[in-house]
Amino acid sequence: MNLSYTEEQVMLREQIQKFCETEYDFYKREEVVKSENDFDANAWSLFAEQGWLSMPFSEESGGFGFGPIELSILFEEFGKSLVIEPYLSNVVLAGSVLDKSNFEGKVELIENICSGSVHVSLAYAEAAHSYEYLKPDTNVSDDNKLNGTKTLVLNGKNASKLIVSCVMNGELSLVLVDTSADGVSFNTFRTIDEKTCAEFTFENVSIRDSDVIAAGDEAKNLLTETINLATLCISAEAVGCMVSCYNKTVQYTKEREQFDQPISNFQVLQHRMVDMFIDSELAKSLLYKAMLEVDADSKDKFKHVSALKAHVGKFGKLSAQNAVQLHGGMGVSEEMMIGHYLKKMVAIDAMFGNADFHLKSFSK
């Protein structure tokens, strides 16, 4: 038994930390938020150069074949600095589906994702089926026309291609749709964690047989596995947020003086920060468990990802609320970073099943 990261993994973490510290501070993030794109083209090409965009893909698809442990490292560090680049939508959601599929054009498409030249999004959600992704209403008719509405398509506005979950020939299918095709329209919305998502409507969009990525059990497995991996990733992001929440709060309370002394002298605040620290350590422990189970492809991997997601859903929000409270009025100022962790934690809890949902999944 050895739970330490390898030298390579430690180096990867340091690389990402260095990027976040030097190229992606909170002011830089604000610029990106206010920009047209909602992502930073320079950062995105840097991700490509560093190989981060190719990280999890199999070697046959031109990737490094890294697993859930490396992805968790990346997301933990992104969480600490609230990085909003569309990594989850491109690499984890769309990318994993393609990589694990038998789709003919996958190598070329993955190459384009890895080089950062093309954005692809996975359209998995529908308004009527919250957290239930295997029974979409969107469908492909007998004459191969796609109809329906997909919501919460992350980074949808930048995507030139979508992978759409739908019913085709009576079974769950994943089809590739060009966003410029006839019959595709969308509206863009902001998410509370400063990203964007889109609602896509498909009206008689023509689907060719060669656009079908997977169908039946294969589609079901691809979707289930991918959502589980994405859930692990955003939970790792939550762990990073929790670590930053208590670090920043400790720092702030040591600097902030009231009644002629730093407020960190007060025991009631100390114990709250200790609670934040303990909850983040427990979250880390559940992350270890979940990423190792996913890495081993064990039968319990869904259960342990649910345990992690349920914990960070509840205690991540609590940590961020404590961080806001201990920052006083500064905690609710939009221009301060700390309140944005709270928004991020709410966003993470809402995605792919909230704490209650995963508590139920866990006990099944």
Binding site: M1, N2, L3, S4, Y5, T6, I69, Y246, V250, K254, S264, Q267, Q270, H271, M273, V274, F277, I278, E281, L282, A283, K284, S285, L286, Y288, K289, L292, H304, A307, A310, H311, D356, L359, K360, F362, S363
Partner: protein, 389 residues
């Protein structure tokens, strides 16, 4: 990263399981499984069975007759015994006073005391807390005055666990009250049969007689029973408390309780309770992984910081939380306690078996967040680490 134990460690775990299946004294096992009280003799039998196997010195170095087990082996020992529902090992002799004796005691003391601890010929108890000194232990007042080749001890100790069964007590006493309160404390070993010692029971809210007050009136203790140097007792006391932390997370015992709880709850059809049980299971998983992370760190030569305090806080919260869920699962049967024989008897009130012991455990386990450095003291320790002061 590899979460699996080595072949050697797994073989070791099999040895533990084999002992538990064949050599764990049957009469003790039966009582434990039914949630009954153990007698002094039961406890002696259980510990002597471990001595016979050579496992009594589970955390001792080989040179004093211990097992010399690695941190991983210790972890497995604690977990497997917890999962089997064994009584917690009495820590006072083997893992509290013994390390102090072999580290700070003289050769004579090592020869005199250690073999009997290893064979469980002597039952030790702990003379630390006093009526006025709980978390602020250094404020203790029990006085020892040197007269010739004796110390004369006057004062009282409290919350002394199972002093009614004990042969010996290790005492923190004040030998000097002129300087700082941490200075002037000394560490004495005292035979409980010495004239002037009186043990009075303290009955706790579960109705049990587990702890006591111990009074000392002009108790003559031979000067050769002083451990180390006069006035250095505080150093030894702190050293001892660091050893007390072993197994404090009680993951094995909590896993056993959880499995029993899940069985009970599965028949109740109560979705609110199901949810609480799921949260508890996740909390135990998090605790288990936290302990494994600590273990991995130790085995890799690391020096963990605040982790053992996390294990104390979360471990005891979980133990208490489990007893609370059993009480909830008992429903209105939680009203009935104790059974016909009254407090301290093994008579069960009517109702399902799980309900019968739920109240007693719930009440008894309140102690866990108080002893061994209260959970608030643990938070003070962690806050020094978190704040970096």
């Amino acid at each position: 990263m590899d979460i699996n134990f080595s072949k050697e460690d797994l073989a070791f775990r099999d040895d533990l399981r084999e002992w538990l299946a064949n050599d764990y004294p049957k009469h003790v096992k039966e009582k434990m499984d039914k949630g009954e009280h153990l007698t002094r003799q039961d406890m002696v039998d259980y510990h002597k069975a471990l001595s016979a196997k050579g496992w009594m010195g589970y955390n001792w170095p080989v040179e004093y007759g211990g097992t010399g087990w690695s941190a991983t082996q210790l972890y497995l020992f604690n977990k497997e015994f917890g999962m089997a529902g064994c009584p917690p090992l009495l820590a006072f002799g083997v893992s509290m006073v013994a390390p102090v004796i072999w580290t700070f005691g003289n050769e004579e003391q090592k020869k005199r005391f250690l073999p009997d601890i290893l064979d469980f010929n002597t039952w030790w108890c702990q003379g630390y807390s006093e009526p006025g000194s709980g978390s602020d232990l250094a404020s203790l007042k029990t006085k020892a005055v040197k007269e010739g080749d004796h110390y004369v001890v006057n004062g009282s100790k409290t919350w002394t666990t199972l002093a009614q069964n004990a042969d010996w007590i290790f005492l923190l006493v004040r030998t000097d009250s002129t300087g700082k309160k941490q200075e002037g404390i000394s560490f004495l070993l005292v035979d409980m049969k010495t004239p002037g010692i009186e043990v009075k029971p303290i009955i706790t809210i579960d109705g049990d007689h587990e702890v006591n007050s111990v009074f000392f009136t002009d108790v003559k203790v031979p000067a050769e029973n002083l451990v180390g140097e006069e006035g250095k007792g505080w150093t030894y006391a702190k050293f001892l408390l660091a050893h007390e932390r072993f197994g404090i997370a009680a993951v094995g015992a909590s896993m056993r309780a959880l499995n029993q709880l899940k069985e009970v709850v599965s028949e109740l059809n109560n979705s609110d309770l199901d949810k609480k049980v799921a949260e508890m299971e996740i909390a135990i998983s998090a605790l288990e992984m936290t302990e494994l992370r600590l273990l991995s760190d130790l085995e890799n030569g690391g020096h963990p910081g605040a982790e053992s305090s996390i294990l104390k806080i979360k471990g005891t919260e979980i133990q208490q939380g489990l007893t609370e869920l059993f009480v909830e699962a008992a429903g209105e049967y939680a009203l009935m306690y104790p059974g016909a024989g009254g407090y301290g008897s093994n008579d069960k009130p009517s109702g399902p078996e799980h309900a019968a012991v739920s109240l007693e455990r719930f009440l008894n386990f309140r102690k866990t967040s108080i002893y061994g450095g209260s959970n608030e003291i643990q938070k003070n320790i962690i806050s020094k680490f978190v704040l970096g002061v």
